[in-house]
Amino acid sequence: MVKTTLEVDDDLWRRFSILVIREKGERRKNEVIVELIREYVERFGITEDPQQLRYIIQVEEEREAFNRVRDKLIRDPNYSGKYVAFFQGAIVGCDDDKGRLAQNVYERYGYIPVYIDRVAAGERRVEVPSPELSGREV
């Protein structure tokens, strides 16, 4: 079990407290918050595989590192418009072709969680209109 502290706006907390007392009774706020967290996780979905979760955390850390320097890279003609690979917070490869970049990085460092993205503003977006795609687990 994890114990954590939340910072919540006074008025929002007061209204939340009243609602919980009204709907659930006294001393049930913790239970409601846990339920809300569970609903959030289920709605957006995340794998339960602990190894995949570790990979995702590592990739998210590399993505953060990329985002910290993204604007600088966009201004740099050596990187702008190209794909870069981040590992342990640093650039470990750059290429016009993302597949070739991934291949080179995996050959050099092994099959490890790197983050590969295009040096451009905003997140990469793709369209997959097939209705059966839905299902939020990543």
Binding site: K98, Q103, Y106, P129, S130, V138
Partner: protein
Amino acid sequence: MKYNLDYSPPAPSIKVRFSSPTSTNSMEIEAKIDSGADITVLPQNVVRELRLIPAGRVTVSSFDGQEERKYTYFLNLHFGNFKFSMVEVVGAKRRDALLGRDVLNLLKTILDGKTMNFELLDP
């Protein structure tokens, strides 16, 4: 090749072998030809079975405008005489794969719904 009658309405689909980028682990599954998909989609259980490691993240827009963030994976795929290395795919909760335009644009695709035949060529 014949359209797959398991889909309703029937759809062009083929068996595609997906393999991990650095090991011999591979899985062959049905993949529907999906010219509307910008990117190839892989069932999440294949991601798990092949022990793929995420390497990117994209925002995926669905048919109804809903957006989801999905992790991407690089892997090799092959079907018929075609082999493609280090294709970036997204994982999704579904039973079959979708072969998107990222792969289809490397080939000539002929769909003949009247006779329920299709061809994938590299002329």
